[in-house]
Symmetry: C2
DNA sequence: AATTATAATTGGAATAGTTCTTGATATCGA
DNA sequence: TCGATATCAAGAACTATTCCAATTATAATT
């Protein structure tokens, strides 16, 4: 266990509490990593990265932190096929484009003013809590 | 888990070959199960069901068959969060609505004439090979 | 400030879905 | 029919994730 002595963050200010979640040192560093490294890292990616600052952190804790952050709506969990979950701090509703060639994952925003009901024949009475849109393909040279 | 698509006649004729894939007895039965039981079963669901007709089939074979069928574009593999993969023979482009209360998965069709590019700000030059749209929510009483 | 209660962290073991391996069996082509 | 190839079965192995028990940190209460 590592002390929670509030070390001053390098670049990103992280409050002691977000959305009612106590931001422990571990949660801060996990969150900071996601903010700095916006390429949709896996839990293990985050783990390796966070170890630079918290050498004693455990993978289980990274999972715990990520889950807590997701639960409190601070970050989002993204799944591609059956691969490891990935995490991103982009809270705006958006989808993901997975470039099959480079493996890079691009955020894809909705065009302004479109609603799902315009596009899909939703079951009558459906109340949507969560949307996940995943595209796979290639980026053709223009 | 309950079906949301109308039941299908018990006996389905399955050709010896589909899309260049040799339809062995095992593949036939796996495919038949998906056609008859259109509630997005998992590999294990299929396994249990197929055993009625092929008592000696193994789970590994069910996985092999499902993979072969997916690879040849005969069925689709559907993933929800990190749950077991589910499989469906509905090849038309469609999404899925996951009712959080009942667990039922509903196919969701696109409205005619809408294209993704109308709705999403795709990265320039993106060529989409595959789309996965997953909604989670509840069905309100009407 | 000391004490108790609660929450978070750790490390390792456990789990579950899926894939891999190996040897047996079936099918195809000559 | 014979040999080559594909498929199958059974179980072991793998991997991402979760669970558990013990420890430590933080918060609440006195």
């Amino acid at each position: 266990m590592v002390s929670n002595t509030p070390e001053i963050p390098a670049e990103i200010e992280i409050p002691e509490e977000i959305s009612g979640l106590r931001m422990t040192r571990q949660r801060q560093e996990v969150y900071r990593t996601l903010m700095q490294q916006r390429n949709h890292p896996t839990a293990n990616d985050v783990f390796m990265r966070v170890k630079d600052r918290l050498p004693n952190i455990s993978l289980a804790t990274v999972y715990n932190c990520l889950e807590a952050l997701v639960q409190h709506g601070i970050i989002r969990q993204v799944n591609f096929e059956r691969e490891s979950s990935r995490y991103c701090p982009n809270l705006s509703e958006h989808g993901h484009f997975h470039d099959a060639v480079t493996g890079v994952i691009h955020d894809v925003d909705f065009k302004p003013g479109v609603s799902l009901a315009d596009v899909l024949n939703l079951p009558p009475g459906a109340v949507i809590d969560d949307v996940e849109i995943t595209l796979r393909g290639k980026l053709a040279a223009l």
